[in-house]
Amino acid sequence: MGKLKLKLTFDKDCVTRPIIYELVKKYDVMTNILNANIEYGNKGNMILEIKGKDENLKLALEYFKDLKIKYEIYAEAIIWDEKQCINCGSCTAVCPTQALTMGKDDCLHFDKDKCVVCQLCINACPIRIISVEL
């Protein structure tokens, strides 16, 4: 079993296609949409997590290529500059997986394993010390 976090960018030919359905049906992968911004009939992008057998994940990427869907694979991506952090907690308002939480010590805690690289925290941080490493 493997896991990939992807950013997909598709043009107007793909936005009407049931991509998630096809991924599940053809390649037996588990999908989790972390963020999607799609203008129907125009263009869109999506941050997607897929889990499945390694060979199926490879096939899923081939499938994106065939459809001319651009994809970027996220590695361990969110970088939090802990030394600069003022521990205000604004980023925890938007973190969907509670990877960013306020601890009992009233400091910000970041659990990389829970992070799905949705990137919502980057702009929610008022002092701009969270970034993404692609």
Binding site: I86, N87, C88, G89, S90, T92, A93, V94, Q98, T101, M102, D105, D106, C107, L120, N123, A124, P126, I127, R128
Partner: protein
């Protein structure tokens, strides 16, 4: 009863007992009110939150030939040109004409305090006495004359928590609010907050010496939108936004640890300001006020999508826990002000008083206890 003069005598001798507004809660729990009152002279408070109504007055000094600056830019952020020749006011929320919301007055102030060089570009019509029409140079905190923060509204005594009833994410000065009551944000240091520890401002007034941005400052006046005739719980603590402070202090002694430029996504620029107020424990009543706990401080909830009050209040212990029950669901809560830095401020102020480098002041006059906030009506121009 003890007086501020008596407390200052003890501070000079290094004998004053100073604790923070958090520490005093545990001491009372252990020793009771009477014994704690006998022991504790001063309780220190602290807050470090986004405070938009903030800014700095600057005098640049005169160039040769001199200029009467009318249009003024600091790192491409407009500063006020309607004062005397080389005076200005840079407000925290002003945004860069080049970089937009990513950099603004709050960041200029932070960079000034950090000692960085700031680009100054000013234009003028030119006059007989001020012939220069343009100036382009750099300034920093060491080569300018006065630079003092004057913040018209800081340290709000309580503030409503915020949520969003619509089906779209909204971007506000209370942070990013997720659709369908998806989260609740709040901004307070709660039991450490200056005005929540002296809800009727018995000891805080014009002239009160305070910690401001890492240096020494003073309460200058009532803050704008200062409001005292508000709903309170039995302990006297307002459950809505109430009193505010206008504060003043020299930025040359401040630190970027306690003054930080900030951006609220798709809303704008602001400034995190650190404020700490010492509260003299003049009598047992004062001790009762500073004993207030997060579980005893309530705030109302406001729907920021239409600025509508929701008939719901929470206490800060509930909000601090990270989740509250609302409309039958568990809703995630998030703070906007830093309790960590607020605590650091209260401890720093305690340290200053213990070392004898900070004495308490009697207020020169009270903050008004009768005031109302007008709304702005749309009136016909005649």
């Amino acid at each position: 009863m003890r007086s501020i003069a008596q407390i200052n005598e003890k501070i000079k001798k290094g004998k004053a007992v100073v604790v923070t507004a958090e520490e005093v809660i545990d001491i009372i729990k252990e020793k009771g009110y009477k014994e704690t009152y006998e022991m504790v002279d001063v309780v220190t408070t602290g807050t470090f939150g986004p405070m938009c109504s903030s800014g700095v007055f600057i005098n640049f000094g005169h160039s040769n030939p001199p200029i009467r600056m009318q249009s003024i830019m600091l790192n491409d952020v407009p500063a006020y040109g309607g004062l005397a020749a080389v005076d200005t006011y840079i407000g925290a929320t002003e945004v860069s004409v080049k970089r937009g919301m990513e950099y603004g007055g709050g960041h200029v102030i932070e960079d000034l305090i950090a000692g960085k060089d700031i680009k100054l570009h000013a234009l003028s019509n030119g006059t007989d006495c001020y012939p220069r029409k343009e100036i382009l140079t750099t300034i920093n905190k060491d080569n300018i004359n006065q630079a003092y923060m004057y913040n018209p509204r800081n340290a709000y005594q309580n503030y409503p928590a915020a949520t969003n009833s619509t089906n779209k994410t909204i971007y506000t000065y209370m942070g990013t609010l997720l659709p369908n009551y998806g989260n609740i944000t709040y901004s307070t240091s709660g039991e450490l907050s200056p005005l929540l520890n002296d809800p009727y401002m018995r000891t805080i007034g014009v002239g009160t010496r305070i910690f401001l941005g890492g240096g020494i400052g003073y309460v200058a006046w009532q803050g704008t939108q200062h409001k005292v005739d508000v709903e309170r719980t039995a302990n006297g603590v307002p459950i809505v936004n109430a009193a505010t402070l206008a504060v003043i202090g020299d930025i040359k002694h401040m630190s970027t640890k306690y003054v930080r430029g900030a951006v609220f996504d798709r809303y704008g620029v602001t400034l995190f300001v650190g404020i700490g107020v010492p509260i003299p424990i003049l009598d047992e009543d004062m001790l009762k006020f500073v004993s207030v706990k997060n579980s005893e401080i309530y705030t109302k909830l406001v729907d920021k999508s239409g600025n509508v009050n929701i008939d719901k209040k929470f206490n800060y212990a509930e909000l601090r826990s990270g989740t509250v029950k609302f409309n039958g669901k568990n809703v995630h809560t998030a703070p906007l002000s830093s309790l960590y830095v607020a605590r650091n401020i209260a401890l720093t102020l305690k340290d200053w008083i213990n070392k004898g480098s900070f004495e308490l002041t009697d207020k020169v006059t009270d903050l008004p206890f009768e005031s109302r906030v007008n709304s702005l009506e749309i009136r016909e121009i005649k």
